[in-house]
């Protein structure tokens, strides 16, 4: 009996594997690429990491995040846990408000809103595999070292937006060292 040659069996198998690797490679990598692009844009290429960046009211010229809601006051914070956990706070708001955390693969790993946190949000984020911190109302484990925190406040009019801008002005997103904690 003739032994199976590379071209006889191994080649078709290799082609199938290469097809799958190429397909899944692109599909799996895309969310990381999209998040990386968003993180670069939000943090101004890494210059503004671990700090809130408060967005202006969305207009026809807004291009930072796709499909922005013109009815919400959004703030974003690119987090980097390389130097340990970070602290995130968001002041109370008399309408819908939420703080959500996105890992590097774009998953929405955590969200809390004003109904669950009527007095405002006080949160720590730490990286999976490192010591769990304490001292905040909420402690969130991130599967990735980097990601994005977003806060949304319902503010559909210029007047409400101005109030939201004032409410969020002293919100915190930063390392514990930054906060002297």
């Amino acid at each position: 009996m003739k032994p199976l040659s590379f071209r006889g069996l191994a080649l078709p198998a290799s082609i199938l594997i290469a097809l799958a690797v190429g397909h899944l490679g692109v599909v799996t990598a895309y969310p990381y690429w999209a998040m990386s692009t968003a993180m670069d844009r939000i943090s101004q290429d890494g210059a503004a990491v671990n700090q809130w960046r408060h967005g202006q009211r969305a207009t026809g010229a807004s291009r930072r995040i796709v499909r922005p809601s013109p009815d919400l006051a959004n703030s974003s914070c690119v987090y980097d846990l390389a130097d340990g956990p970070i602290r995130v706070t968001a002041a109370a708001w008399d309408g819908y408000m939420s703080v959500s955390v996105y890992s590097a693969n774009s998953d929405n790993i955590f969200v809390v809103n004003d109904r669950a946190a009527p007095g405002g949000v006080d949160m720590m984020i730490y990286e999976r595999g490192t010591a769990r911190p304490s001292g905040a109302d909420l402690v969130v484990e991130s599967p990735s070292e980097k990601g994005i925190v977003l806060q949304r406040r319902l503010a559909p009019t210029p007047e409400r937006f101005a109030l939201a801008a004032a409410a969020r002005a002293s919100d915190v997103c930063g390392t514990l060292a930054d906060r002297g904690l």
């Binding site: 590379f6 071209r7 080649l11 290799s14 082609i15 199938l16 290469a18 097809l19 799958a20 690797v21 190429g22 397909h23 899944l24 490679g25 692109v26 599909v27 799996t28 895309y30 969310p31 999209a34 998040m35 968003a38 969305a58 207009t59 026809g60 010229a61 807004s62 291009r63 995040i65 796709v66 499909r67 922005p68 809601s69 013109p70 009815d71 819908y96 939420s98 959500s100 996105y102 693969n105 774009s106 998953d107 929405n108 790993i109 969200v111 809103n113 109904r115 994005i148 977003l150 319902l154 559909p156 009019t157």
Partner: protein, 201 residues
């Protein structure tokens, strides 16, 4: 290495590289054109139960990363997108539409118009959306809004000026347990085309 030995390896190598490239191209095609994966449809309102979920499959996650990066998960918000009118025709900025309905089963809801580039259209009309807090209703609680390039006296208006082609996003923040459990219970807004510039047949 002799020529025959080289050629013995070149063909499989080229085949494998071509397979890698074909696989990558098919992956890109799914990401760019695969909105239908995991999709639910209710009278042309398209949703996707995988949005924001940590349990989303890789294809859903990739598609959502393109069309709705940083969306909230379903427990917080349900998103629907609509590309067509009641007769299945794609929205056109040179046509006027009417969207109408009742209050939606959520703490807050909105309908927002986006251009084909997934951003708000570059106009300064300040009428990108209608929402639960501002929309005027009639005595029975029903609301209706005009979608067109000009307001034309409408009580509620979404401007499509400078949008060219467009689509609509329906957001339900903090949906009711019933809406979350069964999307078919949601009274989706209806959408009809009123008129188009010049080409009525």
């Amino acid at each position: 290495m002799t020529t025959s030995k080289r050629s013995r390896w070149i063909v499989p190598l080229v085949a494998i590289i071509a397979a890698l490239a074909t696989g990558a191209a098919s992956g890109l095609l799914v990401v760019l054109k695969g909105e239908q994966i995991g999709q639910s449809s209710h009278d042309h309102w398209l949703g996707n139960r995988g949005v924001g979920s940590t349990r989303a499959d890789p294809w859903t996650r990739a598609i959502i990363a393109r069309i709705g990066l940083l969306a909230l998960n379903r427990s917080e918000t349900i998103y629907f997108t609509r590309y067509r009118d009641s007769e299945g025709r794609a929205f056109r900025a040179d046509c006027a539409y009417e969207i109408s309905g009742t209050d939606l089963p959520a703490r807050w809801w909105s309908v927002t118009l986006y251009g084909a580039d997934d951003f708000l259209p570059p106009n300064d009309d300040g009428a990108f959306s209608i929402d639960a807090t501002r929309t005027l209703r009639d005595a029975s609680g029903r609301w209706r809004a005009r979608i067109s390039t000009t307001r034309d006296g409408a009580q509620n208006w979404i401007s499509s000026r400078a949008a060219d082609s467009f689509d609509l996003s329906l957001r339900l923040y903090n949906p009711t347990p019933d809406a979350l459990a069964d999307e078919t219970t949601i009274p989706f807004p209806t959408l009809t085309r009123l008129s188009c510039e010049g080409d009525e047949r």
